[in-house]
């Protein structure tokens, strides 16, 4: 494509436990990039893996330093996916929207700096800027939106489980979901399109912004859940070829997943549920 400049640059952000990172997580990025690039409208330039902080309090969640290191090892062989440790280095659990805001801001900063340095050629005046589907978006002051020429767009990359979790009471704030789909956009990898479409249909917010929710169908079923990986490790079963060799070596070296580590946070309520339930009961 000679006029590739017309494509919107996209950065994909995946949030999650990555406890531990598996080939499935890495596949999500590959699938999403292929799919968005094939539309001819987007050009995926970067992927960011953002492991959740320890304050999330999920059962069996081992320390962020290990999870971040494993993610770094796993992405060593990738020339476009990297690990962001901002989220995991915060004291408090961070809502996904805050992670998105942070990374979008960081992106526009680095873009602005790059632009000054490189003196990027201005695009032709009068060139129609791509309007993001959805039109009049509630644009925030601190939100460098898609109209800011050239700044890559940040999109949340996830599996269908996230779409499904939007319906769990007190897990997400509706205004956060709205901000995610209006100001950023989502890329969801689905096993069968039907299921994801059902979740979109059943949510009014998602339905009204469905053009910002990109569904990517998986052509090879991939269900390497980290929960199953941990279970196999506890039972001393092989997880070879399901997680990168470097991650496996690290797990063995530090004896990471044991019966004890799985009991971590047992009976503790997830940070988002704690926070929002409190807020809900105040009203």
């Amino acid at each position: 494509m000679e006029n590739s400049d017309h494509r919107t640059e996209v950065v994909l952000l995946a949030c999650g436990s990555f406890n531990p990172i598996t080939h499935m997580h890495l596949r999500l990025f590959e699938l999403a990039r292929d799919c968005l690039n094939e539309t001819g409208k987007y050009k995926v330039v970067k992927g960011i893996i953002s492991p959740v902080g320890d304050a999330y309090k999920k059962k069996g969640l081992i320390s962020a330093s290990h999870r971040v290191t494993m993610a770094r090892l796993a992405t060593e062989s990738s020339d476009w996916v990297e690990v962001g440790d901002w989220e995991s280095s915060q004291k408090e659990w961070q809502e996904t929207i805050k992670v998105l805001r942070y990374h979008q801001q960081k992106l526009s900063h680095s873009y602005a700096t790059n632009n000054v340095d490189k003196v990027a050629p201005l695009s032709k005046p009068g060139r129609k800027r791509k309007r993001e589907a959805g039109g009049h978006l509630p644009v925030r002051q601190n939100q460098p939106n898609s109209e800011t020429k050239g700044t890559p767009q940040l999109k949340l990359l996830c599996g269908t489980d996230i779409l499904e979790s939007f319906a769990v009471p007190n897990l997400w704030k509706p205004e956060d979901i709205l901000e995610i789909v209006t100001n950023y956009g989502m890329v969801c990898i689905t096993r069968t399109g039907n299921e994801a479409q059902k979740f979109i249909y059943e949510s009014d917010i998602l339905w009204s912004h469905k053009e910002n929710v990109h569904l990517v169908e998986e052509w090879i079923s991939n269900d390497i859940s980290a929960t199953k990986i941990r279970r196999a490790l506890r039972r001393r079963q092989s997880v070879r070829y399901l997680v990168p060799d470097s991650v496996l070596t690290y797990i063995e070296k530090h004896k990471l997943y044991t019966a004890e580590s799985e009991d971590q946070n047992t009976g503790v309520i997830l940070a988002p549920l704690q926070r929002y339930a409190k807020e809900a009961s105040k009203h």
Partner: protein
């Protein structure tokens, strides 16, 4: 201490190209046997099929072997073996098993006894040998559960060969999560009779990385990273192995076993 029988697992197939799924089959099978506590899995062998097999889109054995070798570089117990691919003709799976069992006996320094009864399972069961202190190594055919299904395809397998495989060697079938391969066993009288030699291994993570899908993605320029090893991806790129053109190889061709077996049947009918 219990005597563990040394066990070698042999996987036959196209390996066009080898994927992480192929390696997973070995890992799953080994875990299965080690948990059961009767066998010590000592070796895994991958035997890519001969070019004469005549399957559509089959890349040359030279490439398929090299890709398998690269993929197995990090494994300390699985290796690729060229014997099957080096033969002049396509070889029936049972012949590949016979060959490797011979090699296995040689490497275990066991003198072959005169007579016909040189097969591991019969030996183990044979009363005359009960006094023997030697533990005979065994060789089993490792496959996906879909192979059980192919046993039912007319002319693809020779009935006697199936019998030899399940009586003299044994089958290890890794089944996909959610599927039930025991139905294929119950549908076949032969398999039913020898089901003690058919080991079913359940997969705990669905794994459907088919080589066909991999080739399809490669032709479209889609990423297959994390589905096959990086070293294999580089090799495929370097030699441009999978293209539209390579996929048309052997198009419309009858598979060698179908040719041979149906020819034989025609002969018999005449």
């Amino acid at each position: 201490m219990k005597h563990l029988t040394p066990l070698t697992l042999l996987a036959c197939g196209s390996f066009n190209p080898i994927t992480n799924m192929h390696m997973r089959l070995f890992e799953l099978a080994r875990d299965h046997f080690h948990q059961a506590g009767k066998y010590q899995v000592t070796e895994g062998i991958i035997s890519p099929v001969n070019d004469k097999y005549g399957k559509q889109g089959l890349a040359s054995a030279k490439h398929r072997l090299e890709m398998a070798r690269l993929a197995l570089e990090t494994s300390e117990w699985i290796r690729v073996d060229p014997w099957e691919s080096e033969q002049e003709q396509w070889s029936e799976t049972v012949k590949v098993l016979r060959h490797h069992y011979k090699e296995l006996l040689k490497s275990h320094c066991i003198r072959r006894l005169p007579g016909k009864n040189n097969w591991p399972i019969e030996k183990a069961a044979g009363a005359s040998l009960a006094s023997s202190l030697t533990v005979f190594p065994e060789l089993k055919l490792l496959c996906g559960a879909d192979v059980l299904k192919t046993f039912q395809i007319p002319n693809l397998w020779n009935e006697e060969h199936i019998q030899e495989i399940v009586t003299k060697f044994g089958l290890v079938c890794v089944s996909r999560a959610g599927s039930d391969p025991s139905q294929y066993i119950s549908e076949s009288e032969l398999l039913c009779r020898y089901q003690h030699n058919i080991h079913l291994v359940k997969e705990w993570i669905p794994n459907e990385i088919s080589a066909t899908n991999i080739r399809c993605a490669l032709r479209k320029g889609q990423s297959v990273k994390y589905l096959i090893p990086d070293s294999v991806i580089s090799y495929i790129k370097e030699y441009n192995i999978y293209m539209e053109e390579s996929e048309r190889k052997n198009e419309g061709n009858l598979l060698q076993p179908l040719k041979q077996n149906s020819a034989m049947i025609n002969l018999l009918n005449e």
